[in-house]
């Protein structure tokens, strides 16, 4: 089992007491480093003493609305000055070293696109602003990647929300950024287009790009990545792989669904396992709460054999990102 501090980073962050190499909030080869960053607007603290880093691959930044995700992303891109702490992108300060933007692509949450331009004109303009040669090929390639070529010559004002979102993604991709920051990138996209965009992000990540995705739609993040940074009330609540974070919440019993032919017999037998906290008999099997998932897993076959029952399914039901996040919210409360 992974130690809580090493797995979740809950203890480490903001305290500075744990070696950064052990803290899952940090990566081995970072392209983006956030060090003890805080941001306040008047008396409102939006981000409080957050330290983490991002490297090649996709990292999800999670949090409910108003948690501080967008503020953190805006500080990483240098759109917002930190009140305290520092941000480094490719070893440079984005607030002072403008050249770093040639290597960044940003898809902001707001509707940052000119409605009176066509997608083709908008992507071309984005290329020119990024100091790239806005050739037909590169513009069409970016539009093609987000499936917008058929509508490339329509004005963005006539687009649906999902299409506008894809136009912003194309504009962010046209300069071949090494770092891509996506703030709620799938907003408004239909299921097919979500699939297309998620595949594209995976493709870019596989090609060594650093991708930071901010979202409050947990299922989307889960489809994109296994590494997350969770922010609650502006503070780093957890970091690392989803399963490891869940494991680190040892004080919250794990819930497991077991499909079995004779539930009551198995329920009785399971109560002899010390790690089992509670057993609920359901229509189609059992729901077991346990403090130690691995112990339950290792002892279940023998217990089932002893009780002469047939187990057909063993499935943790709260290891999903949504469950993990719900637990994090409970911890906060």
């Amino acid at each position: 089992m992974i130690e809580p501090t090493a797995a979740s980073g809950i203890e480490a962050n903001g305290q500075g007491s744990v070696d950064a190499r052990l803290d899952p909030a940090f990566v081995a080869a970072p392209t983006v480093e956030v060090e003890a960053v805080s941001k306040w607007f008047g008396t409102k603290v939006a981000v409080s003493d957050v330290s983490c880093s991002f490297g090649p691959g996709i990292t999800g930044v999670l949090g409910p609305n108003g948690a501080g995700k967008t503020t953190l992303l805006r500080m990483i891109t240098g759109l917002l000055k930190t009140s305290e702490g520092s941000v480094s992108v490719f070893g440079m300060n984005p607030m002072t070293e403008n050249s770093v933007y040639a290597r960044i692509g940003l898809v902001p949450e707001d509707d940052a696109a000119y409605g009176f331009l066509t997608a083709r004109q908008f992507v071309r303009y984005a290329a020119e602003l990024s100091r790239c040669d806005a050739s037909k090929t590169s513009v069409e390639h970016a539009l093609g990647k987000v499936n917008l070529m058929p509508a490339a010559d329509r004005r963005i004002a006539e687009y649906s929300k999902g299409m506008r979102q894809r136009a912003k993604v194309a504009a962010a991709l046209v300069n071949d950024p090494e770092l891509l920051l996506l703030d709620e990138p799938l907003n408004g996209a239909d299921p097919t287009q979500r699939g297309v965009l998620i595949s594209l992000f995976h493709e870019l990540a596989d090609a060594g790009r650093t991708i930071i995705v901010s979202s409050h739609v947990l299922a989307e993040v889960e489809r994109m990545t296994n590494r997350v940074i969770a922010i609650l009330d502006g503070k780093l609540a957890a970091a690392g792989e989803i399963r490891a974070i869940r494991q680190a919440m040892s004080h919250i019993p794990h819930r497991v669904r077991i499909e079995v032919d004779r539930p009551r017999e198995l329920a009785k037998a399971l109560m002899d396992i010390p790690a089992v906290v509670a057993v609920h008999v359901r229509k189609d099997g059992l729901e077991v709460e346990t403090e130690d998932l691995s112990e339950l897993g290792s002892r279940l076959p023998k217990t089932a054999l002893g009780a002469s029952v047939r187990v057909t399914r063993f499935e943790p039901v709260d290891a999903s990102l949504e469950s993990v996040f719900r637990h994090l919210l409970k911890i906060r409360q």
């Binding site: 891109t77 240098g78 759109l79 000055k81 403008n98 050249s99 770093v100 933007y101 040639a102 960044i104 692509g105 940003l106 902001p108 707001d110 509707d111 940052a112 696109a113 000119y114 009176f116 331009l117 004109q121 303009y125 984005a126 020119e128 602003l129 990024s130 100091r131 790239c132 040669d133 806005a134 050739s135 590169s138 390639h141 990647k145 504009a171 046209v174 300069n175 071949d176 594209l200 493709e203 870019l204 090609a207």
Partner: protein, 296 residues
């Protein structure tokens, strides 16, 4: 028909073209500004006002030339009032102000209003690049707005000269420096306050309205100064008559008395108008940089 099939690689291909310099980004914003100001690549209604004003500025020049031709044919020795560029500034000066009132807020306000500044902020573009390109577009368009009608008038009247076009051009050439400098005074004198208002306006229409109101009100206020007044307060007000400053500069350059101008009424020299224009321009530039430093 081939029986072989091919599956093409649709994988991500990185951009491998040249990386252009800072000037490329500035040029892109500048071109965008020109297009947006004139409603190019936009729906027809976006083109109506700017082009109507351009037409309204050129039409009097064309009319004067046509009228002079009808009266004198190709035997003009001195075109008189119709051929006087200093008077022509009176015709197109107010149109220039309206043109600037129309295009300047259009370039600055929507980017803030619709949160589009992040397009620039997330790219290798400095706030000064953005402002330089936007201001440059306003200055160029406002300059052309004044110079094209003047050119129509200048070449038209010269072509009607009794000695032919070349003789006409030589005859009128001594006015060119005054025309150019007065044009600069109009462009900066009207453009800088428009830029200043647009830095803070929350809607294009509000920006346009506030600017026009400020220009006319400062002009009207200074115009209301009693002729005989020697009060210090009026001496302070007169240099704020933004609407009249370009005209005062014109009077100064063309050696006109300009007794009706607010500065003349309080016995201030005409060059004070030029100083006022420069001060407003410098203040506008400073505030613009301050305003956008945190945005881009």
């Amino acid at each position: 028909m081939s029986s072989e099939g091919t599956v093409y690689d649709l994988g991500y291909t990185p951009y491998e073209g040249p990386r252009l310099g800072r000037s490329g980004a500035i040029r892109a914003i500048f071109v965008d500004s020109i297009r947006r100001s004139l409603g190019l690549r936009r729906k027809p209604w976006a083109k109506v006002l700017p082009w109507a004003l351009v037409g309204a500025a050129i039409a009097p020049a064309a009319f004067f030339v046509t009228f002079t031709f009808m009266v004198s044919g190709f035997s003009v020795e001195d075109a008189g009032a119709f051929g006087s560029p200093d008077q022509f500034f009176d015709y197109i000066g107010t149109l220039e102000m309206l043109f600037v009132a129309l295009i300047t807020p259009t370039l600055l306000v929507p980017d803030r209003q619709h949160g589009v500044l992040s397009i620039y902020a997330s790219r290798p573009v400095y706030s000064s690049d953005y402002l330089l390109a936007r201001a440059g577009a306003v200055l160029l368009l406002a300059t052309l707005f004044m110079l094209i009608p003047h050119a129509v008038l200048f070449f038209g009247i010269s072509a009607l000269n009794v000695g032919g076009l070349w003789a006409g051009l030589k005859f009128n050439a001594d006015q060119i420096p005054e025309i150019l400098i007065t044009t600069v005074a109009y462009v900066v004198g009207y453009g800088a306050p428009a830029f200043l208002v647009s830095l803070y306006a929350k809607r294009v229409a509000i920006g346009t309205g506030v600017y026009v109101a400020v220009m006319f009100m400062t002009g009207a206020l200074a115009d209301a100064i009693p002729l005989a007044s020697g009060l210090l307060a009026f001496k302070v007000l007169a240099p704020m008559s933004l609407f009249f400053h370009p005209m005062t500069v014109r009077d100064w350059l063309f050696d006109l008395e300009g007794s009706g101008m607010p500065l003349a009424r309080v016995d201030l020299p005409q060059w004070v108008a030029a100083i006022s224009i420069v001060v407003v321009a410098v203040v506008s530039a400073g505030l613009a940089l301050k305003r956008y430093r945190s945005e881009i």
